[in-house]
Every structure is written in structure tokens, then in C-alpha cells.
């Protein structure tokens, strides 16, 4: 569908450029009655077309067309094809070669542009992979080590020791679980042109599900919920958006030092639903504020044995998911201390309840 409309607009563009070139040439010939400029203007047209359009077809047909037009309209005998005068034939061939080459070189240029973008994406993926595989090693070491220790020394370990080792194994496997969820989401949306499955989800049900899942992981952390009373439904991949909100809440739990209150607020702003996770903790350091959602993918600042990179990955995953939904992520410090992380999504339907 999209491809087709691109094709159509390319064709229209080519036609427009060629007619403009033709009109310009007619004008020049009428005013100055010289012909040296004419092939150049056509070649310039071919250049423009090849640069703008996707398929080789347009560039090549434009160059063929210009040669025919020069032969037909701008060389003696006017308005008649003459392919038998050796002079005209030679100039036609030369012009054909030049315009074909122009077309090819230009195409190559724009392909390199595309490759560059592809490379950048590849680079991001490589950075992510590096950060992640590094991060997977630490919890795996704990899990493997603790389990082996328990099996080998089972009878000599005291009950409190066993419990301590086991609870560490549990913690680290929970951490691994979250990491894997994040990675799965990244592979779902991170590959660029993959379209996500959107369904209309009722805001209240989404928040209900999010809070229940969050409380399963962090039973001791209370979250106050503030959502509008209206019936609001939003087109989204519910699993992914749920993960975004949980990542943001988790981020507050891990990073907002001194937090006593955690709020999940959703408000309506025009056609958008604005989701905000508000804490009253230590806030975001100023130097991190601008790059906080792309932290991991920039590839820098990964301490060799840093443990909490998961959070950086968590926020990166958030921004990838929201971008795939056509929304915006944001982070700021609130005036009275604490941080606000959030994102916007388009509302599909909103109705006041009777």
C-alpha cells in the first residue's frame, strides 16, 4: 500500500521534472535560440529524478526520454525524429551515456545514505548486545555459584546460610527474568519497520493489570494511582506498554533515593494521554537528563563491573517501545524535588460516563 503510493508519487515527480525541463528548454530556445544549454538542463533533470526516486526505472526512463526529446524537439529537423544523421545519432548516444552514468552514480550515493542508517542501527544493536551479555554474567555467576555451593556443602551449611544463598539466587533470577523480558521487547520493536499489533485497551484495565503485576514483584512499594474518570481507550500493544510503565516504576524504586511517595498519574491533554511516574526522591542528575533514555545505546559510560545497567536498558526499551507507538518519552525534575518520567500515547476513544 505504502510502497504503491511511493511509486505513484515518484512517477508524478519524474513527470513534473521532465515537463519543467522541457518547458524551460522551449523558453530558452525561443528567447536565445541557442541549443548548447538544452542537454545540460535535461541531464540536471535526470540527476534530480535519480536522487529523489527509489527505483532505477525512473532515472533510466527519464534519460531515455531526454535523449528522444532533444532529438525530436531541439535539433534540426524540429519536431521530427531523425536517427539517421550521424552527427545527431552520435550526440544522442553520448547524451544517453552521460545521463545513464549520472543516474547510476546518484543512485549509489543515496543507497550509501541508507546503508549508513542501517549501520548505525547495527551499531546500536551491537552496543546493546555487549552491555547485556556483560550484565548477564554477574547474576549467572551468583546463581551457578550458590547452587553448586549448596549441593557440595549441603550438610555443613546452617539453615540461615542456606536461606541467604537461596534468596540471592531468587533475586538474581528475578533480575534475569526482567532482563529477558526487556530483550524480547527490544527484538519486537527494535528492528525498525516491524509493525506492532495494536488493539484498543481500556485505560483503567491497563492500569489495574500494571499495578497488580508491579505489586507481585514489589509488595512493599505502594503506588498511588490518579487516572481520569472518563472511559478512555487507547490503541496499543498492551504487553509492551505494560512493560514500559513497570520499567518506569521500577526505575523509581531503584534510583529515586529517599523516595517516600510514588505516583502513577494519567491525564488527558488534547488528543493524547500523558502517563507520568512521579517520585519524590533525589531527582535526575543534570548531566544525565538529556541522554537518560538512550543511555545504554550510546555505548559509553558502562562501568566495567556496573551492576545496574539493567535500568539503562529498561529506559532504552521504553523509548523504543513508545517510538514504535508513535508517542514521546520525557524525563524531568519536578520543582519540589524528585523526578518525573513519562510518555504520551494517542487516545483512540474517550467518552464521559453516564
Amino acid at each position: 500500500m505504502n510502497k504503491r503510493s511511493k511509486y505513484l508519487s515518484d512517477a508524478l515527480f519524474s513527470l513534473l521534472v521532465m515537463s519543467l525541463a522541457f518547458a524551460l528548454n522551449m523558453l530558452i530556445q525561443y528567447i536565445f535560440s541557442i541549443q548548447t544549454l538544452i542537454p545540460m538542463i535535461f541531464v540536471f533533470g535526470v540527476f534530480l529524478i535519480s536522487f529523489r526516486t527509489e527505483s532505477y526505472l525512473f532515472g533510466f526512463s527519464a534519460s531515455l526520454l531526454s535523449v528522444l526529446l532533444v532529438n525530436f524537439a531541439f535539433s534540426f529537423p524540429y519536431f521530427r525524429f531523425d536517427l539517421f544523421t550521424p552527427e545527431l545519432l552520435l550526440s544522442a548516444v553520448i547524451m544517453l551515456i552521460i545521463s545513464f552514468l549520472t543516474c547510476m552514480v546518484t543512485k549509489k550515493l543515496s543507497v550509501t545514505e541508507k546503508e549508513k542508517a542501517e549501520n548505525e542501527k547495527e551499531q546500536l544493536r551491537a552496543n546493546l548486545l555487549r552491555a547485556v551479555s556483560h550484565d548477564l554474567r554477574t547474576p549467572l555467576t551468583t546463581i551457578y555459584g550458590s547452587c553448586s555451593a549448596m549441593i557440595e556443602n549441603f550438610s555443613s551449611l546452617t539453615e540461615p546460610q542456606l536461606l541467604k544463598l537461596l534468596s540471592e539466587v531468587k533475586q538474581d533470577s528475578e533480575w534475569l527474568m526482567r532482563m529477558v523480558e526487556n530483550l524480547l521487547s527490544i527484538t519486537k520493536v527494535g528492528t525498525g519497520n516491524v509493525s506492532i499489533n495494536k488493539f484498543d485497551v481500556v485505560l483503567e484495565e491497563l492500569i489495574d493489570s500494571v499495578i497488580l503485576n508491579f505489586n507481585k514483584r514489589y509488595p512493599e512499594q505502594k503506588v498511588s494511582v490518579e487516572i481520569p474518570d472518563e472511559f478512555i481507550s487507547i490503541g496499543m500493544d498492551a504487553l509492551l506498554i505494560e512493560q514500559v510503565i513497570i520499567n518506569l516504576l521500577e526505575n523509581a524504586v531503584f534510583h529515586a533515593k529517599g523516595m517516600t511517595k510514588l505516583i502513577l498519574r494519567v491525564r488527558v491533554s488534547g488528543k493524547d494521554a500523558v502517563f507520568e511516574v512521579i517520585d519524590n526522591g533525589c531527582g535526575i542528575p543534570k548531566d544525565k537528563l538529556s541522554s537518560i533514555f538512550g543511555g545504554v545505546l550510546s555505548g559509553a559510560e558502562t562501568p566495567a563491573d556496573g551492576r545496574r545497567n539493567n535500568m539503562g536498558i529498561g529506559l532504552t526499551v521504553c523509548s523504543a517501545i513508545i517510538a514504535a507507538h508513535g508517542g514521546q518519552v520525557f524525563a524531568r525534575n519536578s520543582q519540589n524535588g524528585g523526578a518525573v518520567f513519562g510518555f504520551t500515547l494517542k487516545i483512540a476513544e474517550i467518552t464521559d460516563e453516564q
Partner: protein, 236 residues
Amino acid sequence: MSNNKYKILVVDDEKNILSLISTVLDTSGYQTVTATGCGIAEMLFSSHHPDLVILDLGLPDKDGLTFIEWVRKTSITPVIVLSARNSEADKIAALDLGANDYVTKPFGTGELLARIRAALRAGHTASDGNTQSGDKLVISELVIDYPARSVYLGNREIRFTQTEYNIVAFLAENAGKMMTYSSIIKAVWGESTDPGSIKKLQVNMANIRKKLGLKPGEQSYIVNELNVGYRMRNTR
């Protein structure tokens, strides 16, 4: 002695998961039978008559969905799906074939045990007629009086519209079982599912929640499974 223990058939091709689940079930007082494929599972199901089945979907010989179909031909034994597939479409497919519940891997053992209790209780409700005194269904504070078509929360009567009552009554009859949008719509409106009817159901559910005073995030009577359906709790 072991006769009054519930017997649970666990089907999974991962030996470690089988061992994990049977250990957990053993210590919680259930008797377990394990199978590593559909073929063996069918044989064990016919010979052991389990009270409940825990089923993985990705089995080596056949897909787990075919096993659900096979069980539902002859029995209403509760089936809990335990799978790594977490998409809404997979859940709906399994539930519409007759599975009672769907738990995704990785799972917490506490969660799994709670779902088992709920499913076993739901199985009882279905086979003994209604619980309690026949015409009434009681779930914690919530009382549904079928002959009077009225619902009480504690002592307070909740004024539902016809449609809202029908939805609540249907979910309550199937308490403990995850009901998909299409099964609810079929039961309440008798029509097939399209986006419009799902929206209608969601709006009615929003009103029901409001009338019951349910706040998001509180463990309450009705559980949302986003894009899949609703489940009335039968345990607190």
C-alpha cells in the same frame, strides 16, 4: 489415605520443570502424575482420571492445543495451560478450546498454586450445581441471588442494568475460570464477536467496576486479562 488427595496430571517435555512442579505439588498435598508428551498424556488421562491437568503447549509429538481438544470431547476436567507463549492470540486460542486458565512461564509457584485451587473449586461448582444454598452464589462479600436477579455487596444491594447483571452472573457461574471476550459476548448478547461488541462489553465492565467500587490495582473480584477476557475470582 491418598484417595482423598486431588490427582493432578502434569504434561511438559522439560524434565526440570516436571520435577519442579511435582515437588511443589507434592509438598502442597496433591498427588501428581507426569507425562512428557501428548501420547502418554492421553493414556495417563484415560487410566488415572486426574482432577486437573497442567499442560505445556510446546510438546514434542503434538501441539498441546490438540490435547485440550481431546480432553474436552469427553470431560470437563479443568485444564491449566502453562506456557512460554505469552501473546494474546495464543491465550485466546487455548481458552476458547476449553482451557480454564493460562499461566505464562516463568511463573511463581505461589501463583500456580492459587490458580490450581481456583480451578479445582470452579470444577466443583460446575459439577455440584451452584455452591452454597442452590439459588445463591457467594464469593467473599459478593452475593448473587439468581431467582431475584439481584446482587449484594455486603448488605448493600448493587443496582445493575439487565446487561450488567447478565455479565456478572455469567462470570460468577464460571468463577475461577478465565472467560474470553467472545465467550462472554456470546453468552450475554448471543452474537459473534466484532470490535464493536468488545467495546460494548468493555464499557459495561467499566460501569460494573464503578458500581462495585473497584479501584485499579486492588485485588478485587474481577481480574482483567488485557485483550483476552475477564475472570471472576473464587478465592481471596
